[in-house]
């Protein structure tokens, strides 16, 4: 198990080392030129974030209705990763917007909802950290509702008037000139981010396992 983890970590490090070369070799988008190359990590981080939302939502529900401690550990680990990947998504999007839209930030539906998502999961972590006994169940409810915002954030660009590109961009990417190469590079980056998410999830879950063991030791010492 440990050998498989190390092998996957080495593979992921190699993928991230190769990614800048693949991004550099990808063709320029015709209107945005160089700044569009932020897209490869920007899109990939949101895919990893979406996976985090699904994992957190399902494991929170599992913990709430079945009482599984493992599910609770998965939920808290994935919630922390959602915060990390969302933070990078917001910052990279802001840097891209500065050049493409001429502004760092706009309170339009997609960006505002993504910011709210970050706040919800920061709230989740604060509840876990300072909520005291029983806060796991409250946090699990937050995890379920936080995950439920995912589809709304995804479809917000289609439902409301917004300056953010619509979801059809990805569907039509491969059909554009040079789009097939761009599609391959973005899928490579998505694979690297998803593998990174999996590896970080395992490490973070082990930390949570150690904390649970420590709590048991303290309880045993008190008895």
């Amino acid at each position: 198990m440990r050998k498989a983890f190390v092998a996957l970590a080495v593979l992921d490090a190699a993928m991230f080392a190769y990614a800048p070369f693949a991004i550099n070799a990808a063709p320029y988008e015709s209107t945005m030129l160089l700044i569009q190359k932020i897209f490869y990590f920007h899109f990939a981080t949101w895919m990893a974030c979406t996976l985090g939302l699904v994992v957190c939502g399902v494991s929170s529900a599992w913990y709430l209705f079945k009482g599984s401690e493992t599910a609770d550990r998965v939920a808290v680990a994935s919630a922390e990763l959602v915060v990390i990947f969302t933070l990078f998504g917001l910052v990279s999007g802001s840097l891209w917007a500065r050049k493409a839209w001429g502004i760092w930030w706009d309170w339009e539906p997609r960006l505002t909802m993504a910011f709210m998502l970050e706040l919800i999961f920061l709230g989740y972590l604060i509840v876990r950290r300072f909520g005291g006994p029983g806060s796991e169940k409250l946090a699990a409810a937050m995890g379920i509702f936080g995950a439920a915002t995912g589809p709304f954030i995804y479809k917000s660009v289609d439902w409301w008037r917004t300056i953010h590109p619509k979801t059809s961009v990805m569907r039509t990417l491969a059909d554009t000139s040079g789009g097939a190469i761009m599609w391959n590079v973005v899928m490579f980056c998505v694979a690297a981010f998803i593998l990174l998410f999996g590896l970080l999830l395992v490490v973070r879950m082990q930390l949570e396992q150690s904390r649970t063991e420590l709590d048991r030791l303290y309880l045993a010492a008190e008895d």
């Binding site: 990390i84 500065r98 990174l196 970080l200 490490v203 973070r204 030791l217």
Partner: protein, 92 residues
């Protein structure tokens, strides 16, 4: 005669005013807007620092996050060792 001439001029002005108002500007880029690529390089916003900044931020964020996990694991392990040592001392 004078009244007819005044009436004709008034009608002409009323009809031509909207057409005059809807006229295209004589040359593009003279309404206070200038095409971005025609601006001097120092006026244009460079893309490279923003692009490099984005990828550098990712690297720094990941390094920071891994460091926080590493320090938390160390803290928990240290507490475990301390607890075991204290328990061992109590037994003796």
């Amino acid at each position: 005669m004078l009244r007819r001439a005044f009436f004709a001029v008034s009608c002409l002005l009323l009809v031509s005013a909207p057409a005059w108002a809807l006229q295209q500007p004589s040359s593009p880029g003279q309404g206070g807007f200038v095409p971005l690529d025609s601006m001097p390089p120092r006026e244009q916003l460079p893309a490279a620092p923003l692009l490099i900044g984005s990828y550098a931020f990712f690297l720094v964020l990941m390094m920071f996050y891994l460091w926080t996990i590493w320090s938390r694991v160390n803290k928990v392990e240290k507490e475990m060792h301390d607890l075991e040592r204290r328990q061992g001392a109590v037994k003796r």
